[in-house]
Amino acid sequence: MSNIVNVQSPLYHADFESLASVTKEGGVSLREAKLLGHLNLRGNSDSPEFKNGVEKALGLTLPLTPCTSLQNDDATIMWLSPDEWLIIVEGGQEATVEETLRANITGHFAVSDISGGQTILEISGPDCIKVMQKSTGYDFHLKQFPVGKVIGTAFAKSSTYIRRTSYDSFQLVVRRSFADYFWLWLQQSSKEYGLRITL
């Protein structure tokens, strides 16, 4: 039995490595931020032991304002609902972070490792807002959707969480089984602007 484990991200089959070398131009850039650690966190934000526990474990304040996110060098926390957050950490760290959270939080809470279940697509470039407008009904004006905001919304015929990382770059949190649909959809929607794959 071989000891080499062949790890495959949800868009492994799209072969971004090869595409990156042939797609150099385009108004839209796409990158799979693959194989990161994804943890789903549930808890009562009114409970100090929960809030403090998360803060202690991650060194990050739990975002309590709806649709916001906070990040430091090691982790990003996105608000998903009043009692649900998504924590993104470096790939391979998820088990350790889960343990740390369990060790630091008391009371009622839940952590689920969902690292295999989703991936992050980073879409950027001068025309990426138009692609987003084709895909979802949310208002992408900076006034309504400032940098750092996170929204859960319908995306084409699927759904996603969208986080704005700069004026013209966004992260999409995509479920593994829908990743191919997103890939097909983004190719179609960005065709007129040119799509560039980056690594």
């Binding site: 609902s81 649900e84 009904g137 949310y138 859960g152 919304t153 319908a154 759904s159």
Partner: protein, 97 residues
């Protein structure tokens, strides 16, 4: 296409993010076994269908996945308020008569 204020996300979202769940404020009887078939059927099957203000339950399915309630006018489709689960409407049909 309704424009719905999610009381949990605290902003307006497009209708396609939501699913309707019918009449709001239907409470499950605490002791179902003590009810007659007729009383139980009232809870199970019978729903209001008013022309005018209606309190409905919705879920922000593609967003925060929270259920909430809405006071909506069934003729004009105007949404008068949305409010969190466990809260009571501040506007009722009696108020507007």
């Amino acid at each position: 296409m309704l424009h719905i204020y999610c009381p949990y996300c605290e902003e307006y979202r497009e209708e396609e993010e939501f699913h309707p769940h019918g009449q709001a404020h239907i409470v499950r009887p605490l002791a179902p076994e003590s009810l007659t078939d007729e009383e139980w059927s009232q809870y199970l099957f019978f729903r209001k269908n008013p022309r005018g203000l209606h309190h409905e339950m919705w879920v922000h399915a593609a967003g925060c996945r929270k259920f909430f309630n809405m006071t909506r006018h069934t003729v004009t489709y105007k949404i008068l308020e949305t409010y969190k689960m466990g809260q009571q409407p501040s506007i009722t049909a009696e108020d507007t008569q």
